[in-house]
Symmetry: C2
Subunit: 154 residues, 2 copies
DNA sequence: TACTGATAGTCAGCATACTGAGCAATATCA
DNA sequence: TGATATTGCTCAGTATGCTGACTATCAGTA
């Protein structure tokens, strides 16, 4: 009964572990070197050009101290840029580079394939249900982590 | 449609993030300083006294290079011991200390409370279904990570 | 305008996870 | 038995994630 392997927390860890491995394998096979975290950050920068780091972190529920390193690596790979914000001298305005856009476009099939592979043990219906339950549990626990999801300010 | 926040991989990451935060909060409130990973390792050592590191890693699906540091910290806290194996001079036989047993016993309510909190957005039925689907997806993907779950050799 | 509080970003330190390499010991088999 | 392969463990290096602290800047208010 007190088998850690049967606790929700351990299942969460294990599923995430597999999800990351599948993502890296699919993306690696396609010839790219991008982590799940870097992918989400880059895609969100593309969708919201010029946003600052704190806003980006809120949109994908990363800690603000984690996002610094993630952006460092995107910049170092030439996929994103950190510019000075025109409105706030504390903030950095994030932009995706042309190469970042190109990478994002070409990496998409591998990313989508990874999502299918990590759910391959489930029927389509079960996959949908798993995602629904995860979304529901996550919404209820959003404020319990230091890095909650935040909506974009209009 | 290509919103990272709606992909299974991102939901996995987010649920795990909340699960860890809840675990640390509940266990911390109870006055203990133990991570989810350390807890699972300690509980498994208690259930299988004398096991070696590779076997322990397999029983809870940790990477063999990760388990080294985890055990280091359990030993440093006085909760576990690394002894020489009598059967194989390469291997270390892991034992739980009396203080480790005491800690495990007293920490259990907090650990169980954490499992409830991380599912608090779901009905009991939904929580069961989420766990069933996670178990199923994990079973199908077990071999896809570097650290798959391994059965105990009899 | 001067003070106060909040905010954006960074940094140091710690704990998972992984890749890949290496060492020592064991197992296997020609 | 002797060569080879495998296994248990560790280490260096990299990438998340977190805690807590700090600086620079901004916003609100007396």
């Amino acid at each position: 009964m007190s088998d850690p392997n049967d606790m929700p927390g351990h299942l969460a860890r294990r599923f995430q572990q597999i999800a990351v491995a599948v993502f890296l394998a699919e993306v690696g096979d396609a010839g790219f070197d991008l982590t799940p975290v870097q992918y989400a950050a880059l895609a969100t920068i593309k969708a919201n050009p010029g946003l600052d780091q704190v806003t980006l972190a809120g949109l994908i529920a990363y800690d603000r101290t984690t996002i610094t390193g993630v952006i460092d690596r995107l910049v170092q790979k030439g996929l994103a840029e950190r510019r000075a914000s025109s409105r706030d001298r504390r903030a950095r305005a994030l932009e995706i580079t042309d190469e970042g856009k190109r990478t994002l476009r070409r990496i998409t099939p591998a990313v989508e394939s990874a999502q299918r592979v990590m759910l391959r043990g489930l029927s389509a219906k079960e996959g949908e249900e798993l995602m629904r339950l995860l979304r529901k549990a996550i919404a209820a626990g959003n404020e319990l982590s230091r890095a909650p999801l935040r909506e974009m300010q209009a």
